[in-house]
Symmetry: C2
Subunit: 615 residues, 2 copies
């Protein structure tokens, strides 16, 4: 399209030419409406655009505004097929019939729209959006070519061809598409469409996780989440970390750290199901008793053979011995399988031949890669079978976990700070419009919050200092007393009310932290840290890990944990151990912090919580 | 460190200065040995480096090579703590004692190393690696400062400070580090270390998923996998796709498509476990019978009240009625819960109050985001509870899934081709040394394969054509006959033997593909495609999805699938449907293809297969 007449001209032409999307025969809306000139340089260009109708209004040909058309019931005839290809535009007679039908149907509506005089052509102005950016593109569809007005209600999909033109009285938008050809329309079954009302609450939308990305707010959150995900990869890749995928299914039972889901195939095989609940040897038959009986019978047989007196008795005894041997074999087999029975369930026949769980965290596994490749991170789902209904709790979350070899607590904290600053900066740079929209509709502070994290350092206090500060608080009654130790409630109070910015609490008493954290020289505290942010609460937890085999073994014993479970993990200390540190960030908490959303269920596409897992 | 004396000097100095890693007080090995000058420009610089010992040899002070020192048993004294801090280097008397002890212990070995004359200082040359690249760095440790030689065996971790110097007779390496201070040593418990033999097979290593990243081969695979992951994100982000996280736990039962894992908390609660297997109403008590009894008792009571003859009988009847009412209530409750009983298991008390599974694929869920935001992709784990022991099968895999709205089959195929070419190019650009190493030790063809995919187009044949071609094959006996339809075995043959490059097979008969694929005008085939590559077999499967509500409903009915399961999914066709296409790539297959690995279990950190899930 562009001829080569020097760099300046080429640049200008580049500016003017339309960018067709490589993998669909259309132009992505962002490349029109998000240009610096808002698309003005593209006026006169012929494009194909697609999207879903966000709003519509109609105007009579002579410029009389007919006001926003209310959403009407779709005529039943149209419900037969939701996908009306552009047949109508190609066959004038059909178009005519449709128009007549439409007027008839429209008359049946309870709140009739001002009906334009039949001689005047009516132009429908539809705002469509394809998800590539927050802004819509206005398309102008002449009623002489469009399908019945009602069909083009909110949620309808369209693929149209036309020419970009200047809007006569530009306000927010400066260009629109004058539609010349309708290539595709996917109507909405209005009787069933739950998103017809544009003002649905987030709570209402949660019942429709498969449809809610069509709303501006959920689309904005999705774009911000995307930038946070990609920003995570960019930050760690730029700093030489390797991304490794850690296991979702684990046989390391970490139920002391939280409630875990079992992963099983026992429900699927009917023959296994019968064996599922068999508990210990019923009828009190004991292998030792049977073995004693075998010994007794054997010597009895020998005796009978010697005496040669009673042939019948010998045969009986031999039969008894056979039976006893068979029983012993059965019991031995059962005993073997009993060792794989946990809490009364027999896992011998399960998929992995032993209990398997969904990971609560993959940091232990990640350490094995840090203790070989030095700087590693993972980004994957983790699970918690907690029956909490808190707006900050999900059963399925995504977690960014990082592990650094040859690194102490301070190194991990520095890494976290840089990472979080990078994320905040990424959003401000790449999602400025989405974040403005959210600050208007969700949380007016979210831009300031992002800016302040990007520019200022975090407050750093020890656990003991945090306790002291909270003991002074008089204007707040906490559910649990500060004296009993810090709870999430206390931690949030520090970030929300006292510091009003992220707070790093470090050096916890070892009793409140897991066994694998590095015990400090005082023998009482561990090299741990938590980062608490306003709005989302505990964003991440990190620590230096215990690298000394004797110390970590002692901790496992102190806590009474099953040491054989952690044998593989202790190998990392037995062989070539190094100081290493890392952290786990709950990604949805970061999305909450960035967007200002109040409920974590709105930060992820298909939220899973206790009693609820739609689709 | 660099003074500003003009751009040329600055650039040279930049070249000379050492790059300290921001999050640990050391220099990453890659920034030394992977420079264009192999580190020559850094000679004279003081650095701290860390890593794990890959190999070692010793030389007497006058340059007499003492040959590679065999791996000896670590002296028992050193096993007390694996983490010997640099105490010894600081206390000369201790150092002396240690040296004497060491010589004594060394003498006990079965294969004694040539013992250097006691007056000559011995220098140990250790090759260490920190995972940042394939190449090792040689460090020279004077025996007068080092810990006993045996302790520094393969797998030992070290953190050392010293000065970079030229190697007198440079071969592969041109610089080494002359160690001046040992900051940390993490010894190896040789009695237990399984990786002491450097020539372990991949099969052997599989038993130690937590240690195997310390081998060159698994480290190389990890770096390549990292580049493939990041390349995936870069490709889709550069092309305007949004990354969305799809659910891992799903309540959409897709067991017709493959075996699924159940996710449950029923094993965790002892009281629920008792209810777990309760089947239908025992004792044959039927709600209808009880209701009839209630009616009978009620009228009896009325009668007794009217007659006023028998007070005792009235009280009895009233008690009976109470009991019957209670029973009816219980039965109603049970009946309600029975509806949540699947295959005899009662899921009412399970975490989500109904059966929940691990996703086999998230494409259906992803469609909901494509039908709102147009171009989306996801990258997450999927699960298949298949008891296959094939070297191409995992129970837990990572999958890249892509969905494009306003796109037909051709668009998705074009997108895949570009994506795969981009990945191959990324590896050649970013992992050239790793891939050379693999081509030497694993599969000599892997570089050629990557280059050819990067530069040539894929073969494209229809399913019918593939059948015809395979029917002509005479030199191969297939396990299943071609006449019965294509199996993975046939498909691999096409890529491995006939085309010797990736093959796209498209337009399958609808019977062999799932219900959601777009039925073509012939009514018999669907708009599907599979990509088969040499080495890994079926790499990905894609299709245009069925956008017509009537057609997809008909398919669901034809196949007898539970329509209510898919009601949410059908909403995408009811409301604003569009043509859309996409694909699912099994990421581990891509790693196999790129690295030439024969067994899929070596492509992922912690492989999960039937009967096996270590750690």
């Amino acid at each position: 399209m562009a001829s080569e007449e020097g760099a300046g001209v080429a640049a200008r032409q580049q500016q003017q030419s339309v960018e067709w999307f490589k993998y669909s025969k259309r132009v992505v809306l962002r490349s029109i409406v998000c240009r610096e000139d808002k698309g003005l340089g593209l006026v006169g260009e012929r494009v194909v655009v697609g999207g879903w109708v966000r709003s519509r209004k109609e105007k009579a040909g002579k410029g009389v505004s007919v006001s926003r058309v209310p959403i009407l019931e779709a005529p039943t005839a149209a419900q037969d097929g939701t996908c009306c290809e552009s047949l109508v535009t190609r066959v004038p007679i059909l178009r005519l019939i449709k128009r007549i039908l439409m007027v008839k149907d429209g008359a049946a509506d309870q709140r009739p729209a001002a009906e334009p005089a039949k001689s005047e052509p009516v132009v429908a102005y539809l705002r469509i959006n394809d998800g590539s950016c927050l802004a819509d593109l206005q398309i102008a569809v002449d009623s002489s070519m469009s399908l019945p007005g009602q069909v083009m209600s909110i949620g309808t999909s369209v693929l149209v061809e036309g020419v970009l033109e200047k809007i006569p009285l530009p306000r927010k938008h400066v260009v629109q598409l004058k539609v010349e050809k309708i290539l595709h329309v996917g109507i909405v079954d209005l009787k069933k469409y739950p998103l017809a009302d544009r003002k649905s609450s987030l709570e209402f939308l949660r019942a429709y996780p498969h449809l809610r990305p069509r709303t501006s707010i959920v689309a904005s959150v999705t774009r911000i989440r995307n930038i946070l995900s990609y920003g995570t990869h960019r930050f760690f890749q730029n700093n030489g970390f390797l991304y490794v995928h850690m296991p979702i299914i684990t046989t390391t039972d970490s139920r002391v750290c939280g409630k875990m889901f079992h992963v099983t195939t026992l429900f699927s095989k009917s023959d296994d199901r019968e064996k599922l609940m068999t508990t210990d040897d019923h009828e009190g038959i004991n292998l030792e008793v049977v073995k004693a009986a075998i010994r007794e019978k054997s010597s009895r047989i020998e005796e009978l053979k010697r005496s040669d007196s009673n042939r019948e008795a010998l045969l009986d005894a031999q039969r008894d011995l056979q039976k006893a041997n068979k029983l012993a074999l059965q019991l031995e087999k059962r005993q073997k399988s009993t060792s794989l029975r946990v809490e009364g369930v027999n896992f011998t026949n399960d998929f992995f031949s032993r209990p398997a769980f969904l990971s609560l965290s993959t940091r232990l596994h990640l350490e094995s890669y840090a203790c070989a490749l030095s700087s590693v991170y993972t980004f994957g789902p983790v699970f918690q079978a907690d029956d909490s209904q808190s707006p900050r709790h999900l059963a399925e979350m995504w977690m960014v976990e990082v592990e650094l070899a040859f690194a102490e607590l301070e190194d991990a904290i520095n890494c976290v700070e840089d990472y979080l600053k990078f994320l905040c900066q990424s959003i401000l740079e790449n999602c400025s419009k989405d974040i403005k929209f959210l600050s208007k509709h969700m949380d007016k502070d979210c831009i300031d919050r992002l800016k302040s994290v990007g520019s200022s350092s975090f407050a750093r206090i020890t656990y003991a200092e945090a306790l002291e500060i909270l003991k002074q608080v008089k204007d707040q009654t906490f559910e649990t007393k500060v004296e009993q130790g810090l709870s999430e409630e206390h931690e949030s109070y520090l970030a929300d009310k006292i510091y009003k910015r992220p707070v790093i609490i470090y050096k916890h008493p070892k009793e409140v932290k897991p066994f694998y954290m590095h015990v400090r020289d005082d023998g009482k505290t561990v090299s741990s840290f938590d980062i608490i942010v306003p709005k989302a609460g505990v964003l991440l937890r990190g620590s230096q890990m215990e690298e000394r085999i004797d110390m970590i073994t002692k901790r496992i014993q102190e806590l009474g944990l099953p040491q054989e479970q952690y044998d593989w993990y202790l190998d990392l200390r037995r062989h070539g151990t190094v100081k290493h540190s890392g952290f786990s960030l709950v990604f949805e908490k970061m999305v909450m912090f960035a967007t200002g959303l109040d409920d974590i269920r709105d930060t992820i596409a298909f939220p899973r919580t206790h009693g609820s897992a739609n689709a």
